[in-house]
Amino acid sequence: MKRRLHLGTAAWIILALIILWPVTNWGLIHAVWHADLPACREARGLGACWGVIAEKHRMLLFGRYPFDEQWRACLATLLIVTMLLMGCWRRLWNRFGVASAAVMLAAAVCLMAGGVAGLSPVPTKEWGGLPLTLLISLGGTLLAFPFAILLALGRRSALPLLRSLCTIYIELVRGVPLISLLFLAAFLFPMLLPPSVHIDILPRVILTIAGFGAAYLAEVIRAGLQAIPASQAEAARALGMREWQLNVYIILPQALRTALPALVNNFVGIFKDTSLISIVSLHELTGALAISLGGDADWRSFYLEGYLFVASVYWVFCFGISRFARSMEKRLQGSRQASSDPQR
């Protein structure tokens, strides 16, 4: 039995080598690493041309953000990434952590937008690349969160009209693809407002992502709410708590705690969904790839390398965040088991 297992593993290793060898050959051994167009053309078909990333990395990462000001986009990205890393560190889950995260996010937005502290203003249509992806997904999640809590509470409310309104919203939004909502935001939103009001495309897209994400988040939170035993609500009522006090102090904190991993995974979903906004012509990471390689006949032949680079950027973020969610899930399970352990 054991021997067969070893044989099987050996077979798998051989199979993996057969697959991995040409990939390594193409991606590492015969690859061209510097922005050398003739060398890249030479190596075509044999090796990857990572030089295309070397040549275009600034446009790939920052889109059409003004070239001389790209240090600002870079700094903003670093701020947001630091903020995300801080979020993974549980010791910072306190008032100080939240306040500094808010300051960092505001600083990132100010850096991107300019117009303060002597920075030249940069209109949102010139924003692009990674900072745009991060800002849209973060902005979308942050706005979606309170809305989702209200929707989830509303869907469980005893008031029938409120309940059905929330249910209709959630099911309607979950029933249509994001892309149709984005088309709505990009093409029709201005028609929905009086002619005197004009909202920039970026907040429109963030609002759409938030409204879309909220419907999914609400279901996650609702699952968390359902996990709370009814006895707790009854006990709180017996203590004379009002309905809102009951929700704010008893139910929600526990529900959000159980729903936390799912909420983080939902952020990963939103992060991936932001790639769709390239279809309504905002040049976030996916869109930045199209403008940086699409407009250049010389380097366009190396699109594959560009795709792989952008895919790896997405992967690093999504994998990292979902790993964090998983570790949190394990910890939560552990603590729940511990607290329900009668021996303690």
Partner: protein, 344 residues
Amino acid sequence: MISTSLRRLLPLALALGALTSPAAHAGKTIDAIKQRGSVQCGVSSGVAGFSLPDSQGHWSGLDVDVCRAIAAAVLGDANKVAFVPLNSQQRFSALQSGEVDLLARNTSWTLTRDASLGLSFTGVTYYDGQGFLVPKKLKVTSAKQLKNAEICVQSGTTNEKNLADYFRNLNIKVKPVVFEGFEASFKAFFAGRCQAYTTDISGLAGIRNKEAPKPDDYVILPEVISKEPLSPAVRRGDDEWFAIVRWVPFALIEAEEYGITRANVDSLRASSKDPGIQRLLGTGEDSGKLLGLDRDWAYRAIKAGGNYGEIFSRNVGPDSVLKLPRGLNNLWNKGGILYAPPIR
């Protein structure tokens, strides 16, 4: 009641995004432009010869120069233009909703568009026609040989409809492969997905000379299957703004007829005794007053980018990569059909 309270809430929502600009679009476009200090000009996101940003985000092209001339005439500064790249789906909604003040986005003037989309075309700035680009190695010399060929075309263009009409008339079956974006469509063509590519001839020349791996491997077929008069467009119902956008290009054509160039416009203004030139350059009667502009409007427009002939040769003519002949786009007295009504 609800609408007023919402209206009160809206600025709050706008301030939240810190990215918004409540711009007035009700009332006169020209007032909004003067208040804002820039012309919002909707252009294509990258068509060589018409509007193309370089890697520093500096735009060039025929449509771009028309916008600059209009900005120079209205605001006195050719650089006070904000170029808003629009894809073919967005363009009309963006104009309708007031996101842009004018559309100079190589857009064909057709009855349907003129009559049913709430916009008005101001006058042709480029006479184009639809053609086909094929790889030389297929040894095709006429569009009639394209039986059963796959033809790449961009969706949302008049090209798509003309393609269907043309081959239906000839009773030849072809397979259109439709792409959302201009870039995606020619990328697929050069990758070999289709045997032919169709768009306006200026576009074909652009992608052949600028985007093809080797321009000499491709040939434009002799058939011109449609009339594509490319014209700027404005929202319907604002006659003053319509008149300005109509007459600035006329002034540029008129300037070419009088031999006024960017180089000699100053000396002609100082010394010319020709009453036509004097009227155009504001030293004779005040032609600007009738348009709600000052008397130097045409002078500034010409000074910004030269007369129509200069703009043509710089962007699409002999001095550009497109190397298109003047053809129909020559003055009426030089074998073309450009005919500006007299400025008097």
